[in-house]
């Protein structure tokens, strides 16, 4: 891994254009700058009108923001993509096997591959899941695996999201917007389609049914409600899949099954696509103060009468400390070397590693083990003295809450700024769907881009934007 040099996906070494971006370059050269800017404004207006907004946590109730959309697509070749896919499939299968093992015999602990300390006192480990056999033995129906690129042939996994990965609606809407604004682009470039994602998702959900499901299974999407940051996505996906969008108070345990309240009384539900944190899922079994969940839902699940996707307890596989074991985990369950690399990670819970982190804090990125969304992280090279002092204190008082990674030079792709085109750092979140029959990966995924110069934070909650992501046909 090269630290310090930046790989630009359009310009590579700075002089010659990389092949996959040739058509993009020609297109951009042929367009008036002002008309592109106008198109971008149109796109934003369209997003606002359509309601593609997200609610910001910690801000005033109901405050809605647009995620900045950039019109320059991010392009991957079919070869690059095939390689990534193989790695993703291997990784996601391993994670699913890992989850089964953790909630059954914990062979990986017995084998000495994973230290027991990783499970002890870990709030993401759900004791209630012990011995549960989820329908089809699937835990991770949907995974969002964050990938970064650092050079022509270097891809790293930065994070596995297997609780309730979000962002797929932006992927779909970005493509929709590009199709509407620049239809000719898609006649000149052979871009692999992504529009069937919702149908594929529904397929996955309908193929991991509980045994009690009948011929025409009922699937619903459980949302925490309007004020959740991803509510738009919940409504969007429910609409696209043609399933009901439900909240906790729509569901109830009726005659021993999960049922939703329709205008004509309660109707049995077979599959719940859960977009609610485990903690809030069922006040009888988890956080009793939750008013968002469904009392008794987990009991019905334990009895094998409903599928929950993703399964409760998957969080144990995607916290940032567990991430550092992913190479061993992949190897343990697949018997193969990982195809996708991990970013080197220091676990601050370990004394030596903590010392290294404290000594090199200026060069590292420090993340919370159980954090997400880019909240509460420190980027050493750009942090202020005060931030660093602050994080030192945190590291010393609760080292087990933190991990550190080198500050990677994420690849860049140009965006249209008010002063013209300029490179900005990007990552990639492909979405992997899993059912007992197959793994399906929608070509591309969501490209997130840091909108300000030099920034490495791509999270939408921190002002990051998105791009349409193209995987070219061979």
């Amino acid at each position: 891994m090269k630290v310090g040099t930046v790989f630009d996906e359009m310009w590579a070494d700075g002089s010659s254009i990389r092949r996959p971006y040739k058509n993009i370059k020609t297109w951009l050269d042929g367009e008036e700058r002002s008309s592109l800017k106008a198109k971008r404004r149109d796109a934003n207006d369209l997003f606002r009108l359509t309601g593609i907004t997200f609610n910001v946590y910690g801000s005033e109730e109901g405050e809605e923001r647009l995620i900045p959309f950039d019109i320059v697509p991010r392009v991957l070749t079919s070869n690059e993509w095939t390689k990534i896919c193989k790695g993703l499939e291997q990784r996601v299968r391993a994670i699913n096997a890992f989850l089964y093992d953790i909630y059954h015999d914990q062979e990986i602990v017995k084998a000495g591959v994973l230290p027991l300390e990783m499970l002890k006192n870990n709030p993401a480990f759900l004791l209630q899941m012990m011995g549960v056999n989820p329908p089809g033995q699937i835990y991770t129906h949907i995974s969002g695996v964050d990938i970064i690129r650092t050079a022509e042939n270097e891809f790293y996994v930065l994070e596995d999201n297997v609780r309730t990965p979000s962002g797929v609606s932006y992927m779909l809407e970005n493509r929709e917007t590009m199709l509407q604004m620049f239809p000719e682009l898609f006649t000149k470039n052979r871009v692999q389609p992504i529009q069937n994602y919702p149908q594929e998702l529904l397929y996955s959900l309908k193929h991991t049914l509980p045994e009690t499901a009948e011929n025409k299974p009922t699937v619903c999407l459980l949302t925490p409600g309007l004020y959740n940051s991803a509510y738009f996505e919940h409504a969007f996906l429910a609409d696209q899949m043609g399933i009901e969008l439900v909240q906790g108070n729509d569901l109830k345990v009726v005659d021993g099954f999960l049922a939703m309240r329709t205008t004509q009384g309660h109707r049995k539900v077979d599959v719940v696509y859960k977009r609610l944190d485990d903690e809030f899922l069922d006040p009888l079994n988890f956080n009793e103060k939750s008013s968002l969940g469904v009392p008794g839902l987990f009991d019905v699940y334990r009895k094998g009468r409903v599928t929950i996707a993703n399964a409760p307890g998957t969080g144990i596989a995607d916290d940032k400390a567990m991430y550092s074991f992913m190479p061993e985990i992949v190897q343990f369950y697949s018997g193969e070397f990982p195809l996708l690399q991990n970013v080197p990670t220091w676990r601050c819970a370990i004394k030596d590693q903590l010392n290294y982190v404290l000594d090199n804090i200026h060069e590292l990125v420090i993340k919370r083990v159980h954090g997400s969304g880019g909240y509460g992280m420190l980027i050493g090279p750009t942090a202020t003295k005060k931030d660093i002092a602050n994080f030192r204190r945190k590291l010393l008082s609760t080292p087990q809450d933190y991990i550190a990674q080198p500050t990677l030079s994420l690849s860049t792709v140009p965006i249209l700024t008010s002063k013209g085109f300029a490179p900005r750092h990007v990552d990639l979140r492909p979405f992997v769907q899993m059912s007992p029959e197959k793994i399906n990966i929608v070509p591309g995924g969501l490209t997130r881009v840091a909108m300000s110069k030099g920034s490495l934070v791509v999270n939408s909650s921190q002002g990051g934007g998105t791009k349409d992501t193209w995987v070219l046909e061979n």
């Binding site: 309007l226 009901e244 329709t262 205008t263 004509q264 009384g265």
Partner: protein
């Protein structure tokens, strides 16, 4: 279909209708203030009474003043029936049932909300009023058009329409009730005491000023106004018209679900017992009592719809 979805659709359309009615009332008040020499700020009290927001207003303001009244009806945060409150909640409800609406309808509602929210961000001066009111009316028309043109005629549509017409019936009955005394036959006999401005207020509040003149001529009296707004099936805001539409959609739900719940018999009873007589019989019954009865029957009907279609647990 979820009970909650039916609930969301019903209230989206109820609240949109409420916002539109409020804007029509404000327009009426404004029109009368501008065209009548002897009008005073007291005029706005009548307007607010008609909109059933006057008593709340008095809790916050000691005097009836035009500016305060306008602010109260347009956007005061403490007024749950202000235009901004109604349209905000309508949009919240729509967002909740986004998947049950067509894209056209959703975008019409969301776009209207964004426009109106934007217009009402700053203090509204008198000269801004026409553009604000026009935008609201146009938005309402846009949503109505998108609904009419793109929604499938299924249960979703039925619940949207039920919401619209329950609110409308209630609104029409209230408008009449606030001024019922100027419509009594005895009032005409007294003659001089009746200022035509009161009739005009009523008619304009339901966008029926021109229509009434056209149909009933210049000789028409206050009794005719009552007849027009209660019993004329051609008038899309009359009680009987609302009743017909409610009946239509409740009966459509009956055939969709193959049952006849209590709300259906309630609407049948309501029409049979109260809207099959002529206007004289209504006067005999007592116009005020009649209107009060109607208001409470429509409220009961609304409650029964909630129960029959499991809006809540």
């Amino acid at each position: 279909m979820l009970g909650n979805t039916a609930n969301g659709l019903f209230w989206t359309y109820r609240l949109l209708e409420r916002a539109e009615n409020m804007s029509r009332l404000i327009e009426t008040g404004q029109r009368i203030a501008l065209t009548r020499l002897n009008s005073s700020d007291e005029q706005w009290l009548y307007v607010m009474q008609t909109a059933a927001v006057a008593s709340e207003y008095k809790r916050y303001y000691s005097k009836i003043e035009k500016e305060a009244a306008l602010d109260w009806m347009l956007k005061h945060p403490e007024n749950k029936s202000s235009i901004l409150s109604s349209i905000t909640s309508a949009r919240q409800n729509a967002k909740m049932v986004r998947h049950a609406l067509t894209t056209d309808v959703w975008e019409a509602i969301n776009g209207s909300f964004l426009d109106i929210q934007n217009l009402l961000k700053t203090k509204i001066r008198e000269r801004d009023l026409p553009i604000v009111l026009r935008t609201i009316k146009q938005s309402a028309a846009l949503v109505r058009g998108a609904t009419y043109g793109t929604m499938l005629r299924n249960e979703e549509y039925d619940f949207c329409r039920l919401g619209t017409f329950i609110e409308r019936a209630d609104n029409t009955a209230r408008i009449l009730d606030v001024k019922y005394y100027v419509l009594l036959p005895s009032a005409k006999a007294v003659g001089t005491s009746i200022d035509n401005v009161q009739w005009e207020t009523i008619l304009r509040s339901v966008s029926a000023y021109g229509g009434f003149r056209l149909e009933y001529g210049h000789e028409a009296g206050p009794g005719d106004i009552a007849k027009f707004l209660i019993l004329d099936k051609r008038m899309p805001r009359s009680l009987i018209y609302c009743c017909e539409i409610l009946k239509l959609h409740l009966s459509s739900l009956c055939s969709t679900y193959r049952n006849k719940p209590a709300s259906f018999s309630q609407i049948m009873q309501l029409q049979k017992r109260f809207l099959t007589h002529d206007i004289e019989a209504i006067f005999k019954f007592g116009l005020h009592d009649f209107l009060q009865k109607m208001i409470s029957l429509f409220a009961d009907l609304s409650d029964q719809i909630e129960i029959d279609y499991r809006f809540y647990e």
